[in-house]
Amino acid sequence: MPHPTQSFVRNGLLSVIDAAGYAAIGPHLEPVDLPKGTVLIEAGEPFTHAHFLNSGIGSIIVSTADSQRVEAGIFGREGLAGFGSLLGADRGPQTTMIQVEGEGYRVSIGALRNACQQSDSLRETLLRYVHVFISQTSYTSLSNVSQSVEGRLARWLLMCHDRVTGDDIALTHEFLSIMLAVQRPSVTTALHMIEGYGFIKARRSNITIVDRDALVDFADGMYGTPEAEYRRLIGPFG
């Protein structure tokens, strides 16, 4: 099967690497559909493939022994799942799964490592993304200790809005409760409040962003810095 040309891919990392970098990785990209619930990496299991998304939202989750789950970070068409393999790790303690359906490409870990050895542009771009991802998780941790549930919800909705096309986000209250590490009634109440301010419209499994600028203000500085890092170091985002 012919591999996708660089002008065709919508993944933000694959779009910005130079032509030689794309020539190193392009032939190894396999198109994949990513339905909601797809597990890309299971905690403790060896890495086999990395995934570059063109659409959809993935989530990196950590769990306690009694299955309390918390989201550590999200990624979409700007990112890459499985970057631990680039850092010399063979497996990790987090689970990576798809929360909003999409599609993208997978590449075997061996092919990705080889391509990174051949191309400085590819390797440096992917490592800058790791830096941006760490910035995101740093802000998540700041937000978790300093913000109300409503403020944290505003931030997460903006992060999801950046990764979908249009203003509708297909998110269940269950997923939001994992994202925010709160019980579902706290999610339902926070949605009710933010909807009351006129920033969103909330339906059973869908949230529509109505006033993005107001949500950014409401997120009170907790949204925007990692996103600006991506634009500064990698390329267009959101």
Binding site: T172, H173, E174, Q183, R184, P185, S186, T188, H192
Partner: protein, 87 residues
């Protein structure tokens, strides 16, 4: 396991639980409601606003009301006793 819905009574209406929660029985659903009320009260205290919820109304899948759990039941009496201690 049964599905229970925790609808929240607020000052001027109700916030419906769209999805419900699967637990073993009504006692477990009440426990969920107590934990959820504590989290809502804690968030309101943290932010410095008046909590909007007053109680959870627990219903079954048919919409039958089974139990009302007032938010004040979520405050452990021992906490209140400690706070009321004169010293």
């Amino acid at each position: 396991m049964s599905r229970f819905y925790l609808h929240q009574q607020i000052a001027n209406g109700i916030i419906e639980d769209p999805d419900g929660t699967e637990v073993i029985d009504l006692a477990a659903a009440r426990h969920e409601a107590i934990l959820a009320a504590r989290q809502l009260l804690a968030n309101a205290i943290l932010v410095g606003v008046t909590p909007i919820g007053r109680a959870f109304q627990i219903t079954d899948e048919a919409g039958q009301a089974l139990l009302t759990v007032p938010f004040r039941d979520a405050l452990p009496p021992r906490f209140i006793n400690v706070l009321d201690d004169t010293w």
